[in-house]
Symmetry: C2
Subunit: 293 residues, 2 copies
Amino acid sequence: MADTGISSGSAVGSAAPTNDVDADVSGSSSIGTGPAVGADSAAGVKSARRAVELLEAFGANHEWLSLTDLHHHTGFPRSSLHGLLRTLRDVGWIESDDAGTRFRLGVKALICGTAYLDRDPVMPYATEALERLRDQIGYTCHFARLNGPDIVYLQTRESRTSAHLVSRVGRTLPAHATALGKALLSELADDELTAVLPKQLTALTELTITDREALRSELAFIRERGYSTERGQSSPNLACVAAVVPYRIPGTDAMSCSMPGERVTDAELLRVGSLLRDVAEDLSQQLRRAGIR
Amino acid sequence: MADTGISSGSAVGSAAPTNDVDADVSGSSSIGTGPAVGADSAAGVKSARRAVELLEAFGANHEWLSLTDLHHHTGFPRSSLHGLLRTLRDVGWIESDDAGTRFRLGVKALICGTAYLDRDPVMPYATEALERLRDQIGYTCHFARLNGPDIVYLQTRESRTSAHLVSRVGRTLPAHATALGKALLSELADDELTAVLPKQLTALTELTITDREALRSELAFIRERGYSTERGQSSPNLACVAAVVPYRIPGTDAMSCSMPGERVTDAELLRVGSLLRDVAEDLSQQLRRAGIR
DNA sequence: CGGCGGTTTTCAGATATCTGACCAATATTC
DNA sequence: GAATATTGGTCAGATATCTGAAAACCGCCG
């Protein structure tokens, strides 16, 4: 039983149901439960599911992966992996080393994946709003979307002054550990929140909220005020403020500002928060007028 | 199989005016050569190939696509598409509308695809170099990579002054129509160039080089000088300068600056070019020292 | 040199997908 | 509003993949 559940640090392949090399993973074959009972994860076209699961394994592991590594991560039989890997390599979604025995993500994945941003009619408006915001406030501004228990950064405009970019398009962070995420979580009803939060609230820093009740009460406060704040909960020495863009119900998108955590006063945080709330409200009006939902 | 070869062309919804609904696309049927002889495009795990080909279709079409649309684009039987689409939707790589009948790219594609940037050890160095460059020059700077006949933007640092971002991470442009691409193409030997260029050099603007001989002679000049320039060849009223980052042979990566085309003199273009060449050379030395190839 | 631990690759039977034809649902037309 | 055209969904036989086991391969060390 390798599955310790607890953070275990590594977390690389933690999604895989087994760490046992030769464990029988195909579940359905266990006892005579015939065809997919719960039909939860075993449904659909097997090779297609496996292909994208493989891609996700590559997305989560930034080094070269061998066939055996992938067998550990995914639980797929080595022989099946062999065919899948060659197929994905031939179409350019993964690359192999010269020997053809180690693999990593290919550039096709980047090209295709980032097309998500073009396909979304919200983005042009969001970009423009981010630039207005950045020009008003001067700090780095983000636009992000809730995806299950995580937020995904969709667009960034960096501060004119501080050089470092806080995050990257496409990166995800646990929602409960970020101002963006807390703002979005505050939109959810109580049972929705319960359904979406992970069993264990992982801590990104010492200050990350890991207690569900503490989170709930803060979310209620955020909902009331219209924006969320955070100091050092996602990253040390970083303060963030975020507000939902209320063009959907419940809201899925939010905007934030990231500021150097030590040099910014509480009053400044609140000032930025209410400004942010106004810009987000403006943006959502634009979106609603444009018929975007 | 790669139908027209040409940049996937137009064709959003209007793709098939001919009602070739049931056209045989499986191609391989040349002459009685039984099972895949050349094994060109029909090899590998069929469902996996189709899954990613579907994703690419979504990447190239930014509207909602129906089952029939996809049938036109890919040539896959509708019944096969049905299973694939539900599978991809269930794993979050595509999304469907409420009716479950129109589809578009899902956020998982963005999350996973952008991991390409994390997996690449070049990127931290490239980002730092871009920031140095932008701070020295003031214009928007790009870092891009050659992928077949196209360049792919990997990272951008925007101008402090002009607000508009020129391109986006993950976007591709024809190499022959950009300064970045011309710099990278100038690294190739003559037969490599012939192999990589498309049959027809598509024009992005009136000034795009579409004559192969004109391109060849300019590439020779670029190779000699160490950087490439361009005015209005990729986009009207835009001037670009680019230099290869010579840490591989042939070089695959390059840096560029984009400037407002009208307000920049030729002398300024050349000044930026030689500065760019120096920064690219510095970066490549860093990379080589770090053992990155 | 040859055995050894580990990994990749191959192979034939078991299993799952693919597909063309067929039905159902929805949009379009008059 | 009914007929019609188009699209979406389902099914059983044909076909292809999947898989466990066994074989080739590789680097390593004695």
